[in-house]
């Protein structure tokens, strides 16, 4: 009952409205919660992130507005709304204005296919995962629009870095999710979650609990971090190098919109990670199935967000060549091995053999590729041939 409370509420409200209005009411009741819940989650995340990073660095973090600083997002909103909105005189005004809007629109669209609970999905597309990645690719366009229209060297550099990075990391992102699509035999996000909702013994059928699924999940999350331009892959912003990258010329609420879009992208891709690998809305243990499914989804989402914050507080920013080496020389071959390993898992009979085969595949590839990545980056004393 509690599990389906939102679904039932929606049906009840739709049933109460006049027949002509029913389709539009139904659409509205699907979209408005998404438009409310995720920006709210963004507000919560900003304060969580600032307080978490503070604690990691032995600081208090914001603690002035409200009890323990929980009203900080409100103060931030007021601040960004009252700030002057400056557009450079030589900027392309139309594109400069459109870039944050495109990013925001694109950031909201993927939520259409994320199942946030049992029967809680806006549209159950047969090719949901494909839709998600297709929409995700548009965010590159908005980033480049912002960087290009600002007419600033730094913003253009940032945009070029962002596009190069996002395209490079989209490949392992897609390949690691292909493993799941192969195993589930479907592109529909709803079906992928339903495939993972069962239990054998006390263990759920989550793909992350298989060797290839675990490797795929790690690769997916690394690629997701790069895809959402979060530390340690925040080269496009690179405060210490190119000041703020592609949004250097944005101020006031447009800057806040960029921020919102970026976090919404992070939540969406975390949601997809949960859907593909962590069993979506399904409970982790069989005796916990009475807990509403949407609590599981948002709990897992919060867990991944905390993981993102933790990584941001730990790792320094990568260099451009390290970034590209890592994407093409480690992530890509590793993702291909994961695909092969998932295929082997699919066709081998259930039992210890397929575990062993899958594990050996992953471990061997990891060891070999790691050696390659490590030896290439060995620091040696520089010798000069001519300038002695």
């Amino acid at each position: 009952m509690l599990d389906q409370v939102f679904v039932l509420l929606k049906h009840w409200l739709v049933g109460r409205s006049p027949a002509v209005m029913q389709p539009s009411v139904s659409i509205l009741l699907t979209i408005v919660p998404i438009l409310l819940v995720f920006p709210l989650l963004f507000a919560v995340t900003t304060v969580l992130e600032r307080k978490g990073l503070g604690r990691i660095q032995n600081r208090y973090g914001p603690n002035r507005v409200g009890l323990y600083g929980i009203l900080q997002p409100l103060a931030d909103a007021v601040k960004s709304l009252t700030k002057e909105d400056i557009v450079p005189s030589s900027a392309d005004h139309t594109v400069h204005f459109l870039a944050p809007l495109v990013l925001l629109a694109v950031a909201f669209l993927p939520y259409a296919v994320l199942p946030m609970g049992r029967n809680m999905v806006a549209v159950n597309l047969d090719s949901g995962v494909l839709f998600f990645f297709a929409i995700g690719a548009i965010s590159e366009l908005s980033v480049f629009m912002a960087g290009w229209s600002s007419r600033n060297k730094y913003s253009l550099l940032g945009a070029m870095r962002a596009v190069a990075q996002m395209i490079s990391y989209e490949v392992p992102l897609l390949l690691s999710s292909i493993a799941v699509i192969m195993a589930a035999g479907s592109l529909s996000t709803v079906e992928i979650v339903e495939k993972q909702a069962g239990f054998s013994g006390i263990f759920p059928h989550w793909y992350v609990l298989t060797p290839w699924g675990f490797a795929g999940f790690v690769l997916f999350m690394i690629a997701a971090t790069a895809e959402t331009n979060r530390s340690p892959f925040d080269l496009p912003e690179g405060e210490s190098e190119i000041i703020a990258g592609y949004y250097i010329e944005y101020s006031g609420f447009k800057f806040a919109l960029f921020f919102l879009g970026e976090y919404l992208g992070m939540f969406a891709i975390s949601g997809l990670g949960i859907t593909l690998f962590l069993g979506g809305w399904s409970a982790p243990l069989p005796f916990l199935t009475w807990v509403p499914s949407w609590i599981w989804f948002f709990g897992k989402l919060l867990g991944l967000i905390i993981g993102f914050i933790w990584v941001r507080g730990t790792l320094p920013r990568l260099r451009m060549d390290q970034l590209m080496n890592f994407a093409w020389k480690f992530m890509l071959p590793m993702a291909l091995v994961v695909v092969v390993s998932a295929g082997a898992w699919r066709f081998l009979p259930q039992g210890v053999t397929r575990w062993l085969v899958s594990m050996v595949f992953i471990a061997a590839a990891y060891v070999l590729l790691a050696r390659g990545v490590e030896t290439r980056n060995k620091i040696a004393k520089r010798t000069y041939r001519f300038a002695e």
Partner: protein
């Protein structure tokens, strides 16, 4: 092994995160308006004028010699000399400042006015919370606002003030001795 360093780093940040809740010594931040660190004795920010006794007009040490006005590098001091005179601490007739203004926004806290003052009349205060919402009148401090009792000086710079006190006591004793011997000479 690739990834080993990342795991170590994550463990370190987790240790910091948890430690900051357990061990209060880790959090070095001083929550400023509520908590504050003690101000060092030599701390200085903005000058004040010393007066002796209780009446600030009567006890003001400044004799309007205008040395500080001339020496001030950013020229933030403005003095207008009085027409009449009043006795100073040893009874000598001296001018006094009719107007003595310092602009807080211009002062650069260099302490040169203090160093050149022959009358120990101007000293540096350690109050640093001088912000105001009126950036013209609120930042131009007049004689009334600048004057502080000698006790304040003794409280904020005890070592330096003790030296000044000793010297002034000596001068006063000398002047009194002179005064005591002079009427005798006149009588002769």
């Amino acid at each position: 092994m690739l990834g080993e360093g990342i795991v170590k780093g994550l463990a370190e940040t987790a240790r910091n995160f948890v430690g900051s809740f357990i061990d209060k010594d880790r959090l070095v931040t001083v929550q400023y308006p509520e908590e504050r660190l003690p101000v060092a004795e030599a701390a200085r920010n903005f000058p004040f004028l010393i007066y002796d006794g209780v009446d600030q007009e009567e006890g003001l040490r400044c004799v309007a010699c205008q040395i500080c006005e001339k020496e001030c590098p950013p020229r933030c001091i403005h003095i207008e000399k009085s027409k009449d005179k009043k006795p100073d601490f040893i009874g000598k007739q001296q001018f006094y400042p009719a107007v003595f203004d310092i602009d807080v926004s211009v002062c650069m806290s260099c302490q040169i006015c203090v160093e050149v003052c022959p009358f120990d009349a101007i000293r540096m205060d350690n109050n640093f919370e001088l912000s105001t919402d009126d950036r013209f009148a609120g930042l131009l401090w007049s004689k009334e606002k600048l004057a502080m009792p000698n006790e304040h000086y003794l409280a904020i710079h005890p070592t330096e003030a003790a030296e000044v006190e000793a010297r002034r006591a000596e001068e006063k004793a000398e002047a009194e001795a002179k005064k005591a011997s002079q009427p005798a000479a006149v009588a002769k």
